[in-house]
Symmetry: C2
Subunit: 299 residues, 2 copies
């Protein structure tokens, strides 16, 4: 069975999601859903369909929500109500994620669909690593150190603020889970820098970190999609101390986010109706191929 | 509900398994099952029961099979037939594991029990890491580099050979997934070194590696349970190349093996009847605590 995949949104992640679906051996890209304005304004790619609503795509098994986090709840609920699985990369941790999971879980069960949530790299595969570390050494401390790299979530949050024309937020790891945020902004005409700076520093995305805001005239020359993370744990297995673990990756941020979403799309077709974080799905379900072959090759 | 755990075997892993069960907040150690000979020969620990058969333990939810790999099939089938979950650290990869999984799966389903198999660190948590890497970058090569450290599986295999009184096998990483094996043996009286050396080199555990065998008079002074692994992948996410990943750990080998088995014991109570490798169980199920709290803390 070929999995019929739709992609909602054609920004950073959406573009890489198109490639990841095209590269997947078991998937067919049925089309990209964009806002009407974007479709009429831009030159259209020719190797896949671009439509303004999911109905135009015909049969779809799963839609990747490559859209801002704040738009995820509404779009996911709408698609689930149509019996279509959804994959999002909702990037807020904690209670908000738990609450949205409860909402989507109800909607998904009611309409016999599956949502896999927060399927990026953090939240996402980093969450899997943190869980794996506690499975091996339940006592101890885990530090997640991001960067250096551009944070898409943080950049999008700043771009949405009043007075900001364009923005880029860089994450610099300071070790032991602490980070510096360097935010570069182009102001809208008439906007006051001090006001924008304060708004950024008070935003939930930035309030806990050491944050510096710089006014610049050009953002494009600063853009490099490379990113990374180092997750460290020193912990106790049973009663034996000093177990040492280190996970490190250096990646193209939207490319890996999109790939994780595509792997989650595959997994979504193997779950019972409901909403899941990545921790709640067996790892084998994310891969293509027969279960026995995967066990023979990977276990 | 407190999980009632039995431990079968009281060798390297069994001893650490006792500690890991004692340290688990949601478990009770109901006792250790040993062979009759071992019980009468040795001084007994006083803080838990030691018995010769599982019937003597009363109610048991799950038994950790801390026994040699070759004894796993028979013991697992016997326990599953009693409706008791089993956790093993069967350490042979490939077709043999797939075949045993099929056998245990049938037995487990018939008796309404769960087996989680190959629940150590390799196979086990390393298998989870290898799967995670392919989820993020489906194309590319993964190298698993073991050591330096003593291989328990390889040491046990050598100890079982004719003419060998005691043995220790060291694993040295040569990079790109290649290893050197240094095997230290104490011969039984009358055994011929050249014959033992050849038997080791031809054994399936050693035949694919660069293997050196040394005759020694003392093994105890060589024993250090520290071990490690480095798993590397350079791969492609979607159509974007050069995604770099590195997993490294430095651990006490039997302590972490035992901890993984204990975490798997917890997970076994959350699965439908059947036999599973670690890849087939959601990661969240290995941890104690409420699902929502874990999602809030780890995702």
């Amino acid at each position: 069975m070929t999995i019929k995949v739709g992609i909602m949104g054609y920004g950073n992640i959406g573009k890489f999601a198109v490639e990841a679906v095209q590269a997947a051996p078991d998937m067919e890209l049925v089309g990209v859903i964009r806002r009407k304005e974007s479709i009429s304004q831009n030159q259209q790619p020719t190797d896949f369909r671009v439509v303004a609503s999911v109905e135009e795509l015909g049969e779809v098994d799963v839609v990747l929500l490559c859209i801002p986090t704040k738009s995820v709840p509404e779009s996911a609920k709408d698609l689930l109500a149509r019996g279509i699985n959804t994959i999002d990369c909702f990037d807020i941790h904690g209670q908000k994620l738990v609450d949205l999971r409860a909402e989507l879980n109800e909607q998904a069960k009611q309409h016999n669909a599956v949502a896999i949530m927060a399927a990026g790299w953090d939240p996402g595969t980093d969450s899997l690593v943190r869980t794996l570390l506690e499975l091996m050494a339940p006592k101890g401390v885990t530090y997640t150190n991001f960067g250096p790299g551009m944070s898409m979530g943080h950049s999008v949050a700043v771009k949405a603020m009043p007075g900001v024309e364009n923005a880029l937020s860089m994450t610099i790891p300071l070790g032991t889970g602490l980070h510096r945020r360097l935010v570069y902004v182009i102001l809208e005409p008439g906007a006051e820098f001090a006001q924008v700076e304060q708004a950024i520093k008070n935003d939930p995305y930035f309030i806990n970190d050491e944050t510096y805001v710089y006014q610049v005239l050009d953002i494009e020359s600063l853009v490099d999609m490379g990113h990374g993370v180092t997750i460290e744990r020193k912990g106790v297995a049973g009663k034996t101390h000093n177990q040492l673990f280190n996970w490190e990756m250096r990646i193209n941020n939207p490319a890996v986010t999109a790939q994780v979403m595509v792997s989650a799309a595959r997994a979504s077709l193997k779950q019972q109706p409901g909403a899941y974080t990545m921790l709640e799905v067996p790892l084998i379900d994310y891969l293509s191929g027969s279960r026995e072959d995967l066990i023979k090759r990977l276990v």
